[in-house]
Each structure stands twice: as structure tokens, then as C-alpha cells.
């Protein structure tokens, strides 16, 4: 039986993405209807890729009804959506012509990179950072702090997205885009999620840890899967930089979602998407100031 996820949405971004998340993962066929989507941001795109990957890992057949909007289709093509989405996903129309369109006519910042190995992280971060400094003339000091955010979040993919026993090859995706008033960084992987990663540490096995608490404890107390002093400070550091820049941090892992802004955290229980998604929004103003 085909189950349509027919909650039509007009924008695919943080929180509106939640309306796409299927509740019943026991079905063998799912249809995702994006026809009325007129806007997609990096978080929306990365989360859709991770959702598609998670569903394909569960051997669920997925058909995506692509947006009617040509602009959105062009955007998805430019952001390598069709390359990154698993090949077993079916689309309702032929999109092969999109590859002949001009890839980035506005020359605005729209970058996507695949993250598989820890040794590639610094090169990817430097690539993003150099674009921000040279092409966009952003303040070097602020970009350096933003690079710290990228390093800490990107390296979590090879370090934490698989357990020590499973044969899942760590693979994630990161996308960055600039808007009129902010920069958005999104990344995700279809790995084991934060709670399962933390439960590799015997210290937490007796705790009543759900997905939301797992994320909140990482951010508040520096929980880590490694029972070694000094570990677990990376995401705390990310939160501290994001807060200083008056930005927003969203971490979604399995059924947990934590949204942090202005030093406050809001926790939500959401539908299960495998893996972990992170969205970071920083006001553009901080990149344009002389010093931070």
C-alpha cells in the first residue's frame, strides 16, 4: 500500500520539514509530495536527503513528487540534491535536462560538500572559509570562528555517526548558503544518532536517555560517547560561538529536536528521521563588522 505524505508544504526548511516526516515507517512504499514547495533552504534540502537515505536504508520504496517551481528545481540541481539523494528514490518527472542549466547565475554562496573522512574536514572548512573571505569579503576573524563551528560539527560525522560494531560507512553532507541577512549552514548524516552514540559510553547506559535529552545533555553538560576527560566539549563550543553571534542552533537526532537561541533551549519530540541534522543560522551583520 502506498502511503502519501500529503501534508503539502510551501517552504522546505527547519520546522516545516517536520510536516514531511512519515509517522508510520512500517509501510513499504511512501510518496513525498513537494509539488507546492516554492522555497527550499540548505536545512530543508539536507534533511530531505537524509530522510530519503534513512528510508532507503529501511528498504522503503520512496517516490518524490518534485516541486512545480522551476526555480526550486534549479536550486536543487545547483545544490547537488539529485546527486546526493539515493539512486533508488523515484521522481515523478524527468529532471535530466536540469544539468544543462547555468549552475549558479547569481554567484551567491551556495556550496555543498560530502563528508566521509576526518582527514578531509579541514580542507572542506578551508574551502568554505576562503569563499566567505575572498568572494564575500567577510571579516576574517569572524570567519575563523565560523570555521571552528564547521570543524566541530563536520568531524562529528566520521567520529560519531557509526557505532564501533556496525558496518555503516560514515557519510554526511554539508551545505552553506548566504541570504540577505544571514548565513545558513546545514549538515546531516543518516547514522546512528546522538542517543545511540552516547550509549556506547557505559556511564550513560543506566540513564533514562531519550533522543531529546541526549541532545540537550551534550549541549548543556558535554556528554560524549568517549569516557575520557576533555571529550564532549565540541558542540558546547559550537553553541557558545553561535550564542555570541546572536545566531540559532538546531540539532535534530532521531525523535529529538533541540533549538537554541539567545541562550535558551527549546526541546521537542518529533517524528523519527534516522541520523542527525544540524542547522546553524548566523546573522550576516557579524561577518561584516570590523572586529568581533
Amino acid at each position: 500500500m502506498k502511503v502519501p505524505i500529503n501534508k503539502t508544504i510551501e517552504e522546505l526548511k527547519a520546522f516545516t520539514f517536520e510536516r514531511l516526516v512519515p509517522i508510520n515507517l512500517r509501510e513499504k512504499n511512501l510518496e513525498i509530495d513537494l509539488r507546492s514547495v516554492g522555497f527550499v533552504d540548505p536545512y530543508g534540502m539536507v534533511s530531505l536527503i537524509i530522510l530519503a537515505k534513512s528510508l532507503s536504508l529501511k528498504s522503503i520504496e520512496v517516490k518524490i513528487f518534485l516541486p512545480d517551481s522551476q526555480d526550486v528545481l534549479n536550486y536543487l540541481e545547483r545544490m547537488d540534491f539529485f546527486k546526493e539523494v539515493p539512486s533508488c528514490i523515484n521522481f515523478d518527472k524527468d529532471i535530466s535536462y536540469l544539468q544543462y542549466n547555468i549552475r549558479n547565475p547569481s554567484e551567491s554562496l551556495k556550496e555543498v560538500k560530502k563528508i566521509c573522512r576526518e582527514e578531509d574536514v579541514v580542507d572542506i572548512v578551508d574551502t568554505f572559509a576562503n569563499i566567505l573571505v575572498t568572494r564575500h569579503r567577510f571579516n576574517r576573524q569572524t570567519v575563523n570562528k565560523f570555521s571552528e563551528i564547521m570543524i566541530e560539527t563536520f568531524q562529528n560525522i566520521p567520529q560519531h555517526s557509526s557505532s564501533s560494531t556496525d558496518d555503516y560507512e560514515p557519510e554526511g553532507i554539508a551545505a552553506i548558503q548566504d541570504y540577505k541577512d544571514h548565513i545558513y549552514l546545514a549538515l546531516g548524516d543518516a547514522g546512528i544518532g546522538i542517543k545511540t552514540s552516547l550509549l556506547q559510553n557505559p556511564r550513560y547506559r543506566r540513564m533514562a536517555l531519550d533522543d531529546t535529552r541526549a541532545i540537550a545533555n551534550v549541549l548543556k553538560y558535554g556528554f560524549s560517547r568517549y569516557d575520557v576527560p576533555g571529550r564532549g566539549g565540541g558542540l558546547q563550543r559550537v553553541l557558545s560561538i553561535v550564542t555570541r553571534f546572536n545566531g540559532q542552533l538546531l540539532i535534530r537526532s532521531m525523535q529529538g529536536l533541540v533549538f537554541a537561541r539567545k541562550g535558551k533551549m527549546k526541546c521537542f519530540t518529533v517524528g523519527n528521521v534516522g541520523g542527525t541534522l544540524i542547522g546553524i543560522r548566523i546573522p550576516k551583520q557579524v561577518f561584516l563588522q570590523e572586529s568581533t
Binding site: 574536514v121 579541514v122 576573524q141 575563523n144 570543524i151 568531524q155 576533555g230 566539549g233
Partner: protein, 187 residues
């Protein structure tokens, strides 16, 4: 004093994996140093040091130094910019450690050093006096600070445990002992 240039890993000191490689190479240098020797980690020219790299490459080494795993040896950091030190400071605070930062090794005055990591005003004040005097007996230091000898001894013991000063135990002719506290910047 030996110098270890962190620029060999590039201007971005990023992942924990990269930090682990640096940690092994720094440790090798320390093993080859005689007791009492200092290692200067040169961070001048580094644009970014992440929390993970700082913890793995530097904080872990300092932790081992403070537990005297390598014997009586010391680490200093040269870094003229403030920004790259931020993540290192967070890593040290988490492990309740500290390190001395020097800005220019050739021109060392009071203004050219700072201490990052755990912040305790009374220890900073004591450290300042030791660095100013280069070598000073605990009894003289206690008089300058206007504190009891026992209190002063506790402070210098803690500074020595943190690897921020060197100490020499001296047996005097009357059969007693006293300590000479030495600055590791001017040694």
C-alpha cells in the same frame, strides 16, 4: 629551550585526528628533553585552533606534564594573537589546567606574558611575583605578598603542580629545607 612549530600542520589546526598526530610528535620532543627543560609551542601564524585540536594536542600533553608523567619538564606557548587562544583556554578550563603564553620570547617583560586556563586571582598574583623576580625563596615571596609562609608555600606548590613555575628544593646548613621558586619564562 626547545621550539616546536605548530605551523607545520598548517594555519588551521582542526580535527581531533590531526591533534592526535601533533600530540604524538610533541610527546616525542618532550621525551628527548632533559629534566628541567622547557618546550615552546609556537602558535604564531596560526589562524584557527579548534577545541578538539587544542584538547588533543595541547591540553592532554599539559595534563601529563602536571602529573609528572614526563618528569620535571615544562611547556610554554608563543602566540601573539588572542583569537586562536580562545578554544585552547576552554579546553584547559575543562581539564582544570593552565599554561603560560608568551608574546615575544626575545623581549620578555611583565606585559609580554599571560596565563590562560583556570583562573584564580591569588595564584595569578603569586605567579606575577615569581616571574618578576625570576628566582625567589618562598619566605621572601610570602613577605612581598603579605601572606603566611604556609599559605605562600601552598600557592607555589599549586603553581608548580600546574607546571607554571619550577621549584628547587635546597637543604640549608642548619638541617632544614627551603624552596627556590623559578620563573619558567626567564629560566
Amino acid at each position: 629551550m626547545k621550539v616546536f612549530d605548530l605551523k607545520r600542520y598548517g594555519p588551521t589546526l582542526g580535527t581531533r585526528q590531526q591533534g592526535r598526530q601533533a600530540q604524538q610528535e610533541i610527546e616525542k620532543e618532550i621525551h628527548n628533553m632533559p629534566y628541567g627543560e622547557k618546550l615552546l609551542l609556537d602558535m604564531d601564524g596560526i589562524d584557527i585552533i579548534s577545541y578538539s585540536f587544542a584538547d588533543e594536542a595541547i591540553a592532554i600533553i599539559i595534563q601529563r606534564l602536571t602529573s609528572r608523567e614526563y618528569g620535571n619538564k615544562f611547556i610554554l606557548i608563543r602566540c601573539s594573537a588572542q583569537d586562536p587562544l580562545e578554544a585552547l583556554e576552554v579546553a584547559l578550563e575543562r581539564r582544570k589546567l593552565a599554561v603560560l603564553i608568551v608574546k615575544n620570547q626575545k623581549d620578555l617583560s611583565e606585559k609580554n606574558w599571560t596565563c590562560i586556563g583556570i583562573k584564580k586571582d591569588h595564584l595569578n598574583r603569586t605567579l606575577e611575583e615569581v616571574i618578576k623576580h625570576k628566582k625567589i625563596r618562598t619566605v621572601e615571596l610570602s613577605q612581598i605578598l603579605g601572606i603566611s609562609l604556609t599559605n605562600c608555600n601552598n600557592r607555589t606548590t599549586e603553581l608548580h603542580r600546574l607546571g607554571l613555575i619550577d621549584r628547587e628544593r635546597v637543604n640549608d646548613s642548619s638541617g632544614g629545607i627551603y624552596y627556590i621558586n623559578k620563573s619558567i619564562i626567564d629560566g
